[in-house]
Symmetry: C3
Subunit: 308 residues, 3 copies
């Protein structure tokens, strides 16, 4: 893998570096079956700075750090009082290098992590930046697909169902998937289709992709990647009412899909995946969340240049 100094975007990864990260995360997962904690990051401090709350992502990183023997300092949302006093984001972020050896930043504004990475001397992980990216979510999604269906060896049809316009986890994942032999299929109301910018990336990389508003077109998929459709995305609320039930799946639907299909979701979910699916073999969204810990452990080790 190229030496990573920060993880800001899915665009930093190529096929080899993805497979290398997979191997490392997989070894860590295996090791954690018999050990609760490694000592690799003993003495290291992670600054976990969530300018907007995201409990799942935050706790995933903090657990990853603890499982590696490191320590964590945390601030969430309303605790960033200096910003309300008019301090620049630059100054707020600058303090990190005084306190921590690595940091993860979640911020509502696109580019916040990049601003940090350019100006502070410790590795920065983008934990989601507004309309921007959420690369570590994409990495754990990739990890889940590779682990479940051997993405690197098989041609897979992966369907993205729901909001493909605003779903930043989808955008980051699409960028990763361009390095594999896939057919990406986007199913959404026409108002919520994948932005041109990402279609262009796929075209340039010669990745097969297709679009539909018809949920039936996903039945031959290997992966159903579900996202929630938010009412506030629609200017015309009556339109929302017309489409909202067209992109939901339940157990009956999934049982009529291709054998071995897996259902993924970045969470939180609303009703787009019926809870009756939760205990089915097809549902991997809770396991997906768990994989986040192994992948983030691997990321922390890579950034801090610690060999496992």
């Amino acid at each position: 893998m190229k030496l990573l100094t920060s993880i800001l975007s899915a665009k930093q990864f190529d096929r080899d570096s993805l497979l290398e990260l997979y191997q490392l995360a997989s070894s860590l997962e295996e090791t954690l079956k018999t050990k609760r904690k490694l000592k690799l990051l003993d003495g290291y401090i992670l600054a976990s700075l969530f300018f907007e709350a995201s409990t799942r992502t935050r706790l995933s990183f903090e657990t990853a750090m603890h499982r590696l023997g490191g320590q964590v300092i945390t601030a969430v949302g309303v605790q960033f009082s200096s910003l309300s006093k008019g301090e620049s984001l630059f100054d707020t972020l600058k303090m990190i290098e005084s306190y921590a050896d690595v940091c993860v930043i979640r911020h509502p504004s696109q580019g916040a992590s990049e601003l940090a990475a350019k100006n502070i001397s410790v590795p920065v992980i983008n934990g989601g930046d507004g309309a921007g990216e959420h690369p570590t979510q994409a990495l754990l999604d990739f990890y889940t697909i590779e682990k479940k269906l051997q993405l690197s060896k098989n041609k897979l049809k992966i369907s993205f169902i729901g909001d493909n316009k605003f779903g930043r986890t989808i955008h980051s994942l699409v960028v990763l998937l361009q390095h594999f032999d896939v057919h990406l299929h986007f199913v959404n109301p026409s108002e919520l289709s994948l932005p041109k910018k990402y279609k262009k990336i796929l075209t340039t990389a010669n990745v097969q992709f297709s679009e539909s508003e018809n949920l039936q077109t996903v039945k031959d998929s290997d992966v159903l990647y579900m996202t929630r459709i938010q009412e506030e995305r629609f200017i015309d609320r009556s339109l929302f009412d017309r489409v909202k039930d067209s992109f939901k799946i339940n157990l009956d639907f999934v049982e009529k899909c291709k054998k071995g299909v897996i259902v993924m979701h970045p969470l939180p979910r609303l009703s787009e995946v019926h809870s009756e699916l939760d205990n089915s073999k097809q549902a991997v969204y809770f396991e997906q969340a768990k994989n986040g810990v192994y992948v983030r452990m691997a990321i922390l080790l890579k950034l801090l240049k610690i060999t496992f």
Copy 2:
């Protein structure tokens, strides 16, 4: 003790399991006089999830975990943003098993901890659930009474003064005390008397109990267990004004009580226990809070099946 998988209710405990927990907590207290930290839970992670803030209970658990050598991940109140996005409590709780080895949950809704315990693979501790229970508070109250007055060997008169209707710590403690030779005496405005459900438990267990609105009836008690009376509990506020000063104690009052009486309070207190009592021998409410750490250490060890 029966193998505990979660601690949801005071009803899970019988006399033997209470005394066994007492022994363990007592040994831990003794050990902490010469050591600051054990390594028994090195590598374990506690998820400390307080959907409503309760700084005292939360810090007590977190200290207990640290004193056992473990680590903690925390989320409090406003940080649970996914719920405001419409995520189900089930999904929010489900994430815990990806991150932690044991969890404590404080939630405003009765049954929240039970929901977690049924659906996740790690032990759950109920840190207080709305109108439901607060079993670990009851356990530390029991510990305090046993330590101070040898509840298991003596017949004690224990008086509960204040709000016996809504005080969930009282309800949980009453359930524990049914296993001992006690006389429980409830002193409160008639609007705030112990719910029938708990009287029935006492009747069934053949526990002697009595009620009064007259504070003078507690003078022969071994324990005065005080709770605050909240104005918002009264539909008729003028009634509150009439009764509010009738259930308060001060140093003069306590000195006229039985020799050796102890004054307990789950905290926070308002004016029902005069601060002039704070440094008296009778006041054990601050020590009671301290006992919470030993009892919670014992609970963590029991749930994680670690021998001390």
Copy 3:
């Protein structure tokens, strides 16, 4: 150094104890160049209680504790729910001694830390108390000046520019500087001049000091200690508009100052120090923040009577 039991005020320090603390912090800084963590406070718990948020100060203390091998329990602002239920500050603070071995308290009311120190059995550090003091900020400021310019060996002119009336970090620092051979120069709008109480301290200690409203008078200074001027301090807002730009510095200004001048700022800053200064040799405000970790490590060791 006299045995410190708590750090509440800059007034507790004399010249010798300051230099002794400097030596300790300096050794710690040196050691951290090759080690990330010491084990001196293994098993100790710091309660980090910020009744008002101050992310910088809080994370600085928490990092200091982690670098010494200790653990941290934290509560910030809105999490102190018991106070809103009417609990006294005394009761809230009293809980600390049940949970922690040392604590840092930030509170909007002057005297809060002192109240804690008088009533609990563990050392208390004042992390800033309203209009009161912020002694650890003053100690890290002192550390920075001594390290950069050898305050103890040279006569320095130190100029305080901005709000000398309400700047509690200035007040605490002025109290420390009385023990050295300095010329203190205060430059501020007349509404924001140093309170008489501090001038009296300087007079009594025979410290040379002067005042001006003219920024040009600082050009021969060794230190420019900048603070922000807050609009809300002015009853007459039009006055604020007249003075607000008179106490700002930029790169051009600093280059015309004495060779070797250093620019300090307790942060957060607004526009009083132009960001073009950030990468200059003169700007030490980010390094100043970093020094906070070493100084707070030294403070923790001193209070816990642990030899390094």
